[in-house]
Symmetry: D2
Subunit: 334 residues, 4 copies
């Protein structure tokens, strides 16, 4: 029984693997394509420092690589056969039969088994899927954030003939991404059930069976579906560089505040002093609704430390992108 389960899992797992690899290829194409699209990086949902959109996708590419590697190992772990009898003693058929059967089926014989193959293997498989699903949840959440009306930096593909929301025809809702976020919750729930299946009684109890009948095909099928749908989104993701630029502009020179802070400390101010100075300029610019750079150029206190050219240099976003190419190389997208 476990042997035929192993065969099914190996086949289904390989199909999942194919989809995952294709999804990764898609992110590996999207990332270079958007490598130089300047945008604002956000921490806490709040503007931080400039990045490029491609950096986000290169991060997905790297994360998928790790997830695929973990899944491959766990898939190998469940591709394990067993023909060792009712309690694993080979009482009625010698180990050689198991070896031959497994060899013919392309499975590894389980070195020691009870009536079943130990369930840590399946828990590992389910855990790998739950991590992959949660990674896709991260990517989908990013898309959902970028697709917000106020942000508008990216949008799920949306066929010309396709209708928007039935009630509100103008809406472009990231529903595929939302579905992926939802499905990840199912995978997380399944992974706990998989862990609970490990402590079977003695040489087996059958309590895991009703669970696995749901969680093994569902987890496998969900990740397959999610990878396929997400790939379509990634391949056809609509990117709006002008909106990314507009959003980046919102924080204007303000995003440079850290550079000023570090530079001022370098010049001999205490961290406290530098902080006070930079924050006062940032606050004033914010309240006046004008660029940080203009405010900074007018500050007499700042002028004591930096020349106008130095101020302009520190306020430019380009300096943030010097190492983007290096990062791409580091993840194999150079």
């Amino acid at each position: 029984l476990d042997t035929s389960l192993a065969l099914q899992m190996r086949e289904a797992g390989r199909a999942v693997l194919d989809e995952l690899v294709e999804l990764r290829v898609a992110t590996g194409e999207l990332a270079p394509r958007t490598r130089d699209v300047a945008a604002i990086g956000r921490s806490h949902g709040v503007h931080a420092e400039p990045i490029t959109l491609g950096l986000k996708f290169a991060g997905w590419y790297a994360e998928l690589g790790r997830g695929i590697e973990r899944f491959e190992r766990e898939l190998e772990g469940v591709a394990t056969g067993k023909v060792s009898g009712a309690v694993g003693t080979f009482a009625h058929l010698p180990p050689e039969v198991e070896e031959k059967v497994c060899e013919r089926l392309g499975l590894t014989p389980e070195p020691i088994s009870t009536q079943v193959i130990a369930r840590d293997r399946h828990a590992g498989y389910l855990g790998a899927l739950a991590i992959l699903g949660s990674s896709m949840d991260r990517f989908a959440t990013e898309i959902r954030h970028l697709a917000r009306t106020e942000v508008g930096e990216a949008e799920e593909p949306f066929g010309k003939k396709q209708k928007g929301s039935s009630a509100m025809p103008h809406k472009r809702n990231p529903i595929v991404s939302e579905r992926i976020s939802g499905m990840a919750r199912l995978l997380r729930g399944y992974s706990v059930a998989g862990l609970e299946n490990i402590p079977l009684w003695h040489e087996r109890d059958i309590s895991h069976s009703s669970v696995e009948r749901v969680i093994l095909p569902d987890s496998t099928g969900l990740v397959h579906y999610m990878a396929r749908r997400l790939r379509n989104v990634v391949e056809n993701l609509r990117i709006f560089p002008e909106n990314a630029a507009r959003n980046l502009g919102l924080s204007a020179g303000l995003i440079a505040s850290q550079a000023f802070l570090l530079e001022l400390v370098e010049r001999g101010l205490t961290r406290e002093e530098a902080y006070e100075l930079v924050q006062s300029i940032a606050m004033a610019a914010r309240e006046a609704g004008r660029p940080f750079l203009d405010q900074a150029l007018e500050s007499t206190e700042l002028a004591k430390e930096l020349s106008p050219d130095e101020i302009r240099e520190l306020a430019s976003p380009d300096r943030h992108f010097r190492h983007v190419a290096t990062i791409f190389e580091r993840v194999g997208l150079g």
Copy 2:
């Protein structure tokens, strides 16, 4: 911040690894010591076919090997450093600084990061701990079953001076094993929280932090504690071969029913016929409260197919143990 977390996790993880390896060594010593203690194997909690107690422990040895291997890989995955600035662009310090810092600390530089290292790594680490904890839950559950008053095949170590239950002084309760079963539930819960930490917003949100402050040290500490306590139980586990023999005897020749069934089918009976015949003998023996062997030797129907010597041979438990040595070799305990 993530870099110092990585250092802490690497140190703590190595300490856990040491305990796990020692626990595995202990099971690897217990298994050969009990390799030939005949006992009854149970599926569904019900007697099935003979095994030896050592087979149980050899199974633990193999399972721990897999769990340790998984944990080692995931530990390597979190031993990753990052000095790439507020959104991962190295805006203020070049990648070389990161490389040098990581090299000095013995960490791998994260090829691409946001404000943080991606949380699939930590989820993998927590998942590996949850699987190890659930495996220990399985071993602990076995001990709890074997320590049942009616079974009595094994008992947790119990110091001479140590009192039993405060209210019932004669009781020898497997409380360490029960504690281990309980702690595995915590680990399972923590692993879901770890998965939920993956989909952070954009270049990071800090929601994972309050979670990790609990789940990372607790998961690590729990597995460390569980492994250490379980090792003490395994090293000093009291084995009662006479009780194992008594229990095995309860099912007498009945346990041989599968052998009879297979043999009869070999001799040309249909599976239906063989089944009817064997079940009728088993039921009769059970209702009369006498050994299956005696009942079988009196069956005229069975006598048409098998000689008394053949019947005796089929009913002997020894035939179940022919391959035990091979199994031990297969898991590296030969």
Copy 3:
């Protein structure tokens, strides 16, 4: 959409409720029927003090009562309708329409909604089901324990014509109970997914939808199935009073040790002294394999405190059952 979901849940929930009530009726019949079947109570899987089998089932009856009450309340909570438009403002249809629609459908109008009814309601429903499932898991685990070959106090119904395990015809495996234990794991996993559905974005995101499509019908269907199958087990549970008596006998007077302990403390011994004395008798009896009573009657130290009649009285199991009828009354089974 949510309104039609509410209708479906109310209908399905009522069907579940019916099954749960019938299961409770079945336990309420089994309990009195077995009220006076003496048995050994076990803590830690180890013999403790005498009980009667009926007490176990009366406990189930009480627990199901609580679970049903919780489920009824949560079912009412999801029987909530909503016709308030795309963001809950009744922009296109006045609240009166919602009221009329809900009245006609027998639903309560949601006092305030977004595009959807808030998901704390559904999480409550799923949580109630997960608790009911885990309670049934407890009952099923009890049956699985009682059905162990060495224990043999109860057995799932097993038709005469029904075969045992296909490979081992003599086995009577508690497979329905095992299935129930397994299914409870699914319910626990679903309940976390239900909790994760609560924090939807703004006036709704649709991420909950793909999740609910699985967890709402599955959770509902699982509890329905579990209750129905468990009822059949409870109604036809085979009870073996003679085995219960045999097991009770195993611990003979030993189970009385607590009574001796308390009595000796009453008579003026320190808890330490009493403990030492009782434990030494218990250990001696255990090692000699003879009844505790005999050992106790021979103890010269004990004779200083208690007369032979007092010793016999303290060792009798009947004194443990004095309040069983009262307990039955307290749960409404008097």
Copy 4:
């Protein structure tokens, strides 16, 4: 033991209840204060139809009411005492003692117990906390969304002297809300562990104890902390009506598309025709970057169905707020 646990839980639970009630009061004050602050409602993160900010908070008020009610009931459920001996039979002390002890402590006597009080009660308590935590997660997520730089409709309180992010002094990060989102993950994980504690063996095993030592105080303490911190955020939440108005303006008359759609269907167009017409106007306006109203007034096709005044009326946001007062009344904030 369980009785003293019950006492602790009742005390701690009441303290949690107090915090929750105060949090609810705070939302009940914020909601009317912002009742008429016009804003855009969002589904899928994308603009939908107008709402007022107060409607969001009134929804929190209602949801907290349900959560508090559930928690109160479950708290009552765990405020249960037990003095019934080692297996629940009152073998050494009569039920009257239990009644008196419980009465003195203000606890309800558990009608039937084993060595412990059944754990469905505690699972209910933990589930109620997990739902409350997930509701607070929803509120916190809303704040985090509203605090996004591009949205800017609300902000966590931020003392004048308090620094922003240490590295980026201008940032106003919703870190309390993020912490609350994170802590909800812990609560969800704890609730599964609580469910796993239900199926104890026979008259008790002690596996639940190590779990409860963590999850009961932690869950209780977390919700207490979350409620207190969230209340401070709610009481001092900075609201930016001008940003809400700006965002609402972004979708201009476009948000009225549903009204047009419904009106056109009322006038006799098929849903298909109305949909085509409204979508073509919406798309054209979007691509031209001009208000929907202007585009609509120029449409000759639309002019066949509606007069300019009717078009203006349908495009006005005020019509969306007609029933806001009614909704406030329905939740008890009238």
